[in-house]
Subunit: 183 residues, 2 copies
DNA sequence: ATCAGTTATGCAACTAGTTGCAAAAACTCG
DNA sequence: CGAGTTTTTGCAACTAGTTGCATAACTGAT
């Protein structure tokens, strides 16, 4: 139930066409709420139908012709309400942790390599976030909006740091020798 | 694509009926791959059809009558293969981070309370994990399986620790006064 | 002009997960 | 026994996300 809100947020930050939104979902907002262009177009249609956004009146709409959307007051209101709505954290569902557990019953052959691959992916992601932090967030951020965006980025950074730490631990453990049989 | 593998893992650890599996998915395996009973029954059906598991021959199957499943060699093979298959980490999709970002554009009223609520949920979860760690994992684990299970639990612990840290940071920032207007 | 490539929108079909409910079997207690 | 509760399995309909492809408009080269 968050995609519409992600789109409303993105459109409030800057009115855009579907494709522009898609590109922005490949970075920035997309770092913590990813979506494909099909999802975005479908949702734009729904939001327009519900009267939360509207297409800027340019030409009569035709397929293949660019359409820019902006948020209507009702859309802003809906987003405002959602921000403080109680909603429990969703249960964790992580394939990698599951695979390590499965390795406990069927053996860990080949898993270490996969963990190392993930480790390096997370390192790149962390580096990317840190570059953004350095570029966009100077020592004392000016606006409340900047402070909150920085906070979200910190979340990304700390999450990647968690993965890097855990994966390092895991790779180490997997290469440990078996215990208990030798003197 | 991980639910079938979660079920195979659980069944290898101990052959079970659908309901027993459901209960085990409320803890243990479910801590990092949650599933409802309907998902589980449906998937058990599919796995049986594909010849990866079978119902222990007890009585003729009838609705409402308990059915125990065990993993067949083909099922074990499928799981073994999956464990080391390359599969990229899925993109992050977290509603809470999104809400903080949205708060940047529509204002953060009420958000701090929700963050505090999440903070306390994560603290409970962490306490639960730590109790399990103390209970189930003594200083030097005996088997490889134990070591891997402990590793997974460590993942849960560190993930909760990340959330607690970040949420603490966030709650602090949200209660900071506005800057830049007073001398 | 027209053809190729890029930009932009969108449909259709699929997989995964959620919600609400039904219904058979087994248990239980007067 | 049998009426009511619990256990256990399951269907149906829905929401969310993914994959593959179609199609229109624009852009620039020949």
């Amino acid at each position: 139930m968050s995609l519409p809100h992600a789109i409303l947020t993105a459109l409030l930050e800057k009115p855009s066409s579907g494709l522009e939104l898609t590109r922005r979902f490949d970075k920035s907002i997309g770092y913590f709420w990813s979506a494909t262009h099909q999802q975005i177009y479908r949702e734009l249609g729904r939001l327009e139908e519900k009267g939360l956004i509207r297409a800027l009146p340019a030409a009569q709409p035709a397929r293949g012709q660019k359409k820019e959307y902006e948020v209507l007051p009702a859309g802003r209101a809906a987003l405002t309400e959602w921000v403080s709505l109680p909603e429990d954290p969703r249960p964790v569902r992580d394939p990698l942790l599951l695979r390590v557990r499965a390795a406990g019953v069927v053996g860990a052959s080949g898993l270490a390599a996969e963990l190392r691959r993930h480790l390096s992916l997370h390192r790149s992601q962390l580096a990317e976030y840190e570059a953004i932090e350095k570029r966009d967030f100077p020592a004392t951020p000016a606006t409340e909006e900047d402070r909150l965006r920085h906070l979200v980025l910190r979340g990304g950074i700390e999450l990647e740091t968690f993965w890097i730490g855990w994966l390092g631990e895991a790779v180490g453990r997997l290469s440990e020798p078996e215990r208990g049989s030798a003197p």
